[in-house]
């Protein structure tokens, strides 16, 4: 897994690629919690378009990010969900809990 960060006004976009699994999900968790809890970024957007696989520990990291965003009053947004990512969120019954958009333009809209 690779995470690249881009910064817009009051928004951080993480472009994530590769596999989010047992070995890599702690890195995602850390990046999310830093951005939300420490830096109190008002909006964190995850571009999941290049994610090839995400396991339950990856989903757990997303849920932790979501909880953190609620705690600090920020928004955590997902976009670019491919079939695999969508399936996993469906399996977890989490599709309706996340703020999910089709593309980046919608995700960073004011």
């Amino acid at each position: 897994m690779q995470i690249a960060a881009r910064h817009l006004d009051k928004t951080t976009i993480f472009d994530i690629s590769g596999d989010i699994d047992l070995a890599t999900s702690p890195q995602l968790r850390k990046a999310l919690l830093r951005e939300l809890r420490e830096l109190k970024m008002p909006r964190v957007v995850l571009n999941l378009g290049a994610v090839r696989y995400i396991d339950s520990s990856g989903v757990a990291s997303l849920v932790e990010g979501l909880k953190a965003s609620r705690d600090v009053g920020s928004r955590l947004i997902l976009f670019g969900l491919n079939k695999t990512v969508r399936e996993v969120l469906q399996l977890s019954k989490l599709v309706r809990i996340f703020e999910i958009y089709e593309n980046e333009a919608q995700s960073v809209a004011p």
């Binding site: 339950s56 909880k67 977890s92």
Partner: protein
């Protein structure tokens, strides 16, 4: 290494004729099962031995016999606590506790057992061969 297993299992299931979503389901189940063995049976240690076998079998299904892939994973780790092996209610949105749920959703049969000091997990997925069209 989990990535290598996922790709090998993905290619194997495709080769066996599973549909794309079923291939992803089997890959997911095997990945989550291995992750659980490493985390819970081996308490995080990655170098411990895990055995796996993959077999095409004929298994009973709906009173008939069906073509299926059987995967057996075995480890020498700590005994699983059956009370914890149930997964959890998904309504409760919190991190963790999804792995077993994924495994159960993705496979047709999921059986844990312990024999001779080893934990065994048996996973079965039926191959849904399309029935030949009659007449049409």
């Amino acid at each position: 290494m989990l990535c290598v297993v996922r790709n090998a299992v993905g290619e194997l299931t495709a080769k066996l004729g599973f549909s794309e979503p079923d291939c992803r389901a089997v890959v997911r189940a095997v990945d989550e099962a291995l992750t659980n063995i490493i985390r819970h049976a081996y308490l995080g240690e990655q170098e411990q031995p895990i055995e796996a076998s993959f077999h095409r079998i004929d298994a009973p299904k709906d009173g008939q016999s069906g073509d299926a892939l059987e995967i057996v994973l075995e480890d020498n780790g700590v005994t699983a606590n059956p009370e914890k092996m149930c997964g959890r209610a998904l309504e409760d949105v919190r991190p963790g506790g999804l792995g077993l749920h994924f495994i159960r959703e993705c496979m047709d049969t999921v059986e844990f057992s312990r024999n001779n000091g080893r934990n065994q997990l048996r996973l079965v997925k039926f191959l849904h061969v399309q029935a030949p069209k009659k007449g049409a």
